[in-house]
Symmetry: C2
Subunit: 200 residues, 2 copies
Amino acid sequence: MKNLTFSTFLTSNLSITPSDLDPVLSKAKSLEVRKDAFLLQEGEKCKYSFYVEKGLLRQYMLDTKGKEHIISFGPEGWIISDRESVFFNQPSKFFIQALEDCTIKLIDDSLVRLISEKVPSFVDFNTRLLHNHIRALQNRIIQLMSYTAEERYLEFIALYPDIMLRVPQTMVASYLGIAPESLSRVRKDLANKNFNKKHT
Amino acid sequence: MKNLTFSTFLTSNLSITPSDLDPVLSKAKSLEVRKDAFLLQEGEKCKYSFYVEKGLLRQYMLDTKGKEHIISFGPEGWIISDRESVFFNQPSKFFIQALEDCTIKLIDDSLVRLISEKVPSFVDFNTRLLHNHIRALQNRIIQLMSYTAEERYLEFIALYPDIMLRVPQTMVASYLGIAPESLSRVRKDLANKNFNKKHT
DNA sequence: CGCCGAGTTGAACTGAATCAAGAAACGTGG
DNA sequence: CCACGTTTCTTGATTCAGTTCAACTCGGCG
């Protein structure tokens, strides 16, 4: 299983060497959590952004009927957070849960300030991360509004190539906004299409 | 019709007086556009955020079948932008169009820098705007994933109380992600429910 | 007056949800 | 290493929310 340390993540995006950065990062809080553990629950205030070094997170919400809707997955190298809750210091609508044993770096304002002192360009990098987040949300909206279940599934595989292999299909269905049975049928149809393509 | 100047917008959110701010804002580019004019078209790079002083904008995209999907409306006091396109300097997937005659302030990096020099807290305010945007996108996703057409319509009225009165119903339907006929039926059902409530 | 776009209504259709049952895969303990 | 129970996945039948297509109404406006 991959392991993308926070240090590698930063040094490959900023012009700083690991040896310069690591003294600062040693002060960053880390977390080892087991599968199924919660990093955030509905109603709590989200205090951190979670950088996933190892493992896999999911962020999801419950609707009024108690149904789960997965907002995003966070495999290695991704940051998961409820930025709304962090920034406005409000109770979160989301759960963030480990789907595998995870190693997580906790990012908060004090860490951001610490890194920024050492590497001024981190301020800009942080803004870039924020815009990446906006881009991801915007794409999600476009897909929900204008794609069929099958198209969304294909986009999903492109975005998260390995997640189908790491989580139960039910969860992918929940991300796509369709019933598990529907995802099963979508996959069956795609398999048939491919078979026909190869044998005509 | 309302008229929320950019100056008022800033002075009521930052601790600065209009007389201190206005010399700086006089350098901000303004735009008067007529109904139906485009401020951005698909494929163009979005160079500005658009602050609506007067009038009404819509941001929408076309899907592969040529169908319009309205991402957001921008009435007085709102900012409309494709931040993805601006920040990453990429061609936009969206159109931004005036639905009424509009007065628009153009916000770009140079203006942000200019204001920030005069009012340092504008940097933070700008970050707040970014997080407001994230919040709006997140709510949109939640609604698309877990709300019925009727629930989305009710949320829409709460968010944009007067827009139903200012645009053709077709556009509201497009924002909600439903067919115009469906919105008509949703409204009919709601009217019936209210009638029954009042007369039992 | 007559036209035209917007909205409504009805009827048939469709993609996906739901409900139900069975098959396959999985891990845990004996 | 197998047996068992649990979870996950598949498949079929039915239902349902919302779409599509078509006809009709209404209000404004040249």
